[in-house]
Subunit: 453 residues, 4 copies
Amino acid sequence: MAESITIKGRAGEGNTFLTTAQVIEGLIKMLTAGKVSEAADVYSRCQEDIGYVLINKVKMQRYCGIKTACCFQRCVGLDAANSIFSTTFECDQKHGTAYHQRFRDYWKWVQKEDLMVDGAMTDPKGDRGKRPKDQADPDLYLSVKERKPGGVMISGAKLHQTGMLNSHEILIMPTLTLRPGEEDWAICCAIPTNTKGVRYIYGRQTSDTRKLEKFTLDVGNPSFGGQEVMTVFENVFVPKERIFLDGEIDFSGILVERFASYHRQSYGGCKAGVGDALIGATALIARMNGVAEASHIRDKIVEMIHLNETIYSCGIACSAMGQQTPAGNYQVNLLLANVCKLNVTRFPYELARLATDVAGGLLGTMPSAADLLDPVTGPYIKKYLAAAPEGDVVDRIKVLRLIENLVAGAGAVGYLIESMQGAGPPMAQRIMISRQANIEGKITQVKELLGIS
Amino acid sequence: MAESITIKGRAGEGNTFLTTAQVIEGLIKMLTAGKVSEAADVYSRCQEDIGYVLINKVKMQRYCGIKTACCFQRCVGLDAANSIFSTTFECDQKHGTAYHQRFRDYWKWVQKEDLMVDGAMTDPKGDRGKRPKDQADPDLYLSVKERKPGGVMISGAKLHQTGMLNSHEILIMPTLTLRPGEEDWAICCAIPTNTKGVRYIYGRQTSDTRKLEKFTLDVGNPSFGGQEVMTVFENVFVPKERIFLDGEIDFSGILVERFASYHRQSYGGCKAGVGDALIGATALIARMNGVAEASHIRDKIVEMIHLNETIYSCGIACSAMGQQTPAGNYQVNLLLANVCKLNVTRFPYELARLATDVAGGLLGTMPSAADLLDPVTGPYIKKYLAAAPEGDVVDRIKVLRLIENLVAGAGAVGYLIESMQGAGPPMAQRIMISRQANIEGKITQVKELLGIS
Amino acid sequence: MAESITIKGRAGEGNTFLTTAQVIEGLIKMLTAGKVSEAADVYSRCQEDIGYVLINKVKMQRYCGIKTACCFQRCVGLDAANSIFSTTFECDQKHGTAYHQRFRDYWKWVQKEDLMVDGAMTDPKGDRGKRPKDQADPDLYLSVKERKPGGVMISGAKLHQTGMLNSHEILIMPTLTLRPGEEDWAICCAIPTNTKGVRYIYGRQTSDTRKLEKFTLDVGNPSFGGQEVMTVFENVFVPKERIFLDGEIDFSGILVERFASYHRQSYGGCKAGVGDALIGATALIARMNGVAEASHIRDKIVEMIHLNETIYSCGIACSAMGQQTPAGNYQVNLLLANVCKLNVTRFPYELARLATDVAGGLLGTMPSAADLLDPVTGPYIKKYLAAAPEGDVVDRIKVLRLIENLVAGAGAVGYLIESMQGAGPPMAQRIMISRQANIEGKITQVKELLGIS
Amino acid sequence: MAESITIKGRAGEGNTFLTTAQVIEGLIKMLTAGKVSEAADVYSRCQEDIGYVLINKVKMQRYCGIKTACCFQRCVGLDAANSIFSTTFECDQKHGTAYHQRFRDYWKWVQKEDLMVDGAMTDPKGDRGKRPKDQADPDLYLSVKERKPGGVMISGAKLHQTGMLNSHEILIMPTLTLRPGEEDWAICCAIPTNTKGVRYIYGRQTSDTRKLEKFTLDVGNPSFGGQEVMTVFENVFVPKERIFLDGEIDFSGILVERFASYHRQSYGGCKAGVGDALIGATALIARMNGVAEASHIRDKIVEMIHLNETIYSCGIACSAMGQQTPAGNYQVNLLLANVCKLNVTRFPYELARLATDVAGGLLGTMPSAADLLDPVTGPYIKKYLAAAPEGDVVDRIKVLRLIENLVAGAGAVGYLIESMQGAGPPMAQRIMISRQANIEGKITQVKELLGIS
């Protein structure tokens, strides 16, 4: 992992990126001379705390996406913070609670301390046909187990926790709309990642152990990568000042829906950025293979760009059509944010397919770095993988390994599997699209046009 | 054609819509009570003359699209005006010409007189392998034939002129980037549509004669429709004060590129609006057929919405990422405007296919209005086309005929053929995407990531 | 309509093609010198009566498809005959009835008299949530109303009857699987099309009246075309010797499923043939436009061929994997026949889209034949539609009108709407695929591989 | 690797499957009691030596595909043998050579000795803009370096050699159509894999080292897998009786085209088989997740089946439309074989995408087998991955790991990358489709229909 962007995480080693507040500072560090003004510009626009300008968020995510060529794991906390910010405001208005100021205070501290915050939503869910309290094992949905004077004890688990291992703080949210009688599951709160009773079980991913190998050439992405954990909470104490919802079931669904929509917007930025990296790598390997000018190769790269910019356009559009919330921050357009994510469940697969087409068969057959460095086999590999006259074989291997990483390796977990399942699977977006699309309004217009009463 | 929106066109009968300045007034007239405030709101936002807020343009187009369920032919003049506005400004800066103020004066007059203006770009082109002056017939590209003290004489033709027949004025533009020696083709000017020497040859379209039939039930879209003309210019005189470029070949390509991009943005609004009408009709026929709740029907309608909103998102995004020009009006983002239009060459076809699926076989087999009204056959038709209990057979026929209109009838010319060819065919967008996408920048980022020099 | 292939239909004028037995003879007549041996070869292979070689059927249909560039309406009777042939055999085996020999006698007479036979299956169905006998109007499903010594009286209607108007005979079949108590609806029989009590109500189709216009140039397809009728049966008498099922409800579903599968196979031939015509026209207009060698044009034509041959491959595969029935004729593979048709609900739309792309904007804007022949406007049209030097403008118009016919005109009803709805909509094929695919077998294999009990 | 199917390979360890002649015998061994008759039936039909019934080949490949859920590496030798069989026959006819009998003798020996034979075609190619003899390094295309009394000395390399490491024999073929002066490259011959001077450099693949890990649960496919090698030939002696072409440049292109077409047919069988395994696994995980009956899940599985059967249909169709060669064996239809493979470059990607959708997020986040077996973490994993009541967690993990293997792991190299690049990339198929499709014939038909001379 690149030294310059490793920062003080508590939960684990191998932090790959920056804390929320340091995102932009990190960008500046990452950039060499010529890029400083660009980064500074992004930075200055991002200073508006939680009242983040939505379009800038997407632009920043795309920028980080191409810089890291992987899931950089910074969106979840941002999306959670923005959702909690407006939801607590509205909850206070209705119920006379005092969550909003509490959250503001918490978030100021986060920023002052320059901490990385993860958001945790997805419960294991167990038997999908049953409500939380009807599960054979009550822990299959995280809930409050005991109330004490200064706080609550919670137990349960959160799955698919991208980036939690290199965060300082966790924002815990409920996973679904809760009903009367399910108040104990309506808990939103924050804890440090190294709180007693929290355990992390690391997930295995395609080609993960290559990162541990001696020769880094095979790893594909030499500087960045992702990881996922299953997080278990066993009698974890949460002090009162870190609780942002506790039993207000009528705000559980609102919080879930907002978080999901912010997070679906995020994919319009980050995956477009990773798409940029894949497009760049594909254009580069075409050049190294000496086929960059073939009309069908150019056409495939244009198609990759077209699909990638369509994703980005959806990210921009749901931002541009967003609106300010009563709390003062900005909310994305719910319909278009879901349209954005639904495209992300499709187009990266086609980009990966086209990259595989352009890259050629070596993607699946290339010898290892160990054999390249071996005195007997190395010369053969160099001899026979020489392509266009000016190309360097090692550089060619680097580019092919990056493409392999993104289409069928460790990076594909972020670029493909996460594009499908992250922020909810396609059916979740379809349901939201159906709800938000105002089909009745369209029917009314058609009736009017046709003179049907 | 609906009376309320027919206005004072000069060139021909059957004007289907409004002058540029009256667009919003027309909307207000069209709207019944409950919609007035909405239309007034759109109107007030559109008053900003040429310095049009780009997003509002797209919203207005979508609104007109669902209202008319066809190509309403109002974008070409707007797009031409905006392109000429900024191009003349820059031309004056470079060449010391005085076109910009001249155009401003012209456009003020247009607005004061409340005129409808068309834009004319596409020349016949003849042999595509030859430059304008090398054509067997010099008229295959419109050009200046003679210069007189008070103006110029032009000859040639413009094809595919949507909406010209119901316009008062024509803005003529060159069709390609011109080179030294081709100054006579670098002419941009305005003339009234009833100028001496201008002839219109009406185009035939699928199912066009149904509009002339006795029984209107079969026409599909009872109030609106489109038409296309081939326009011939034979020794047409253009006075000096209506000339906005004359020989400045270095601005010909800029004008073409800007017009094309504005026009490609337009499709992100209008075709999304027509798509709304098709979605509304499809949802309505599903209900009338008694199958609206079938999961596969709902899924198809969600898919139609998703694709339609993706088109719209691209229209919004190229607007949101636009920028102000030195002349003061706003220019769309060129890359995203082309991405927008390229999606329009694809998704309406899939919407049409899905509508055909949901609508059922009657789309291709339904008896005529004449037979419905016939005392012998009418009762049989009513008896056997009764579907869900509460449905009215005539209403069902109306909805099916509207869908037929849009997927394989007169409306399909606007919704499908025009979506493919209008504002240039797909290859034109692909070339622009290739130019605008900064592929080198992506390659550089990948090299940096991989440590390739 | 071309004289050489108009034959003795009874029900109406304008027969567009041949009787079942004369299909091949007609082909021979159609063919000029050089093609006789090819047609004779097809003919000789088709002589095997009902025990038709399945692959030859698909080849013949493709051949007729490219020859006519439209739905030639000959498959329904063939598919009905083959389904009834095997179903009656099996019914006799189980119930001791004597339908099979009766049908054989009938079919011999059809062949001897050289008659054209249509198959009629689709009832109006009314309220889809109710069984036939629970409909408000009992006629919404055709049934036996009265039994007489020498036969039965039937009433009801059949919708979407392609080709019935130019047939001599109708084979009537039930439309769904019937249950005990629904014996009166389980009727399969044959009647002449001019039987007393049968009425035909002609369907309207996109651009249908162009066929009646003075100038044939605009019609698109100068020789062939289709039409659809709604057929009403009012107390129609069917003599005993023309009844092939009467009350055997357990064979109703078998008959429906077999007919549907044969008919879904048919689409793998005929639509591939119409696709050939569209590909030929597209390649020809590209040549006339002078762009045939552009790489993107060639690529689009290759894509059209690829999709069209995929359809054909499915038609061939479901034939090759078919098997002989106990009755001695051949049955297509049910799974692959449904896969075949499901592809036909998709690929012709993409072929039409690509043809629209290649053909250019004139597809929607071209002047009429009347204006072409007009002394004032004609010369302008010829002057400005001249493209590549050697091209003839009238020929270019002919090709464009044929493409218009197939993608958005009268031919699109057959090529697009019928491809979607004919032989059942996509959902009908999906249900059959789900039933036939042996998903359990695949699960078992996976369990075995993984050692899961 | 499963013991029962490991047989006497020479070149390396880990043979995953059977020799050509033993394919069926192996199947019998693999099958438990109930499957013997099925396998015996396949076996008996496959006994026809090289004159293989083409459809049976596809059926056998599909069968092996679902049994192994990976590339089983048996097609290359079969396809090479069939191509050489007919090419040598025709070469002898023209040039009076004696290759055909020599090859027959060789192949009889192969069958008698029950050997596994690989086919080797793809040369490194170096600078794609240059002919073999103009390369900087002459070894970039394998060629004859020296002629000796009893044979020839060859040098060069073959890339992407699937299955060579577990074969006994190699059939070497030229890689492109050769021209006069390039006779030394026109060499087709056979050598044992352990011949002196032959070296194998093993390719790295996604997740390859998981196969070497202690806990087999993570490997995904517990019994089968693939691998690829780069093979280097340094002064390798080939005796005269193993040479089947030597300098007959006019048969080089024929041999390449035939091999490619047979090999493209193969993909219609094997990849459909692997697709079956993926469909089975997806249906099984849906059941384990308790969502098998959700309409959108069922719909996605039907779509997977539909696409998979379309691939298979193309494999069947190019076989059914094949023909006997003068040599007596059978040749696939060249057009349809290329259509088949082109679909294989598309549909497996969509199957993988749909499987990823249905499988859920655990595909990218699931803990390792080591943690499952760990006394501390194991109980948490079992607790929180419990889904539907009756499901076993370990079984669920097995199925998810198999899906991971196929969509983004070691199996994806065979199922996705190889589907794209094996038997040539998509452009190679498009060129063949363009050549074989008889576009002129379609144009002629259209001209005839339209009366264009």
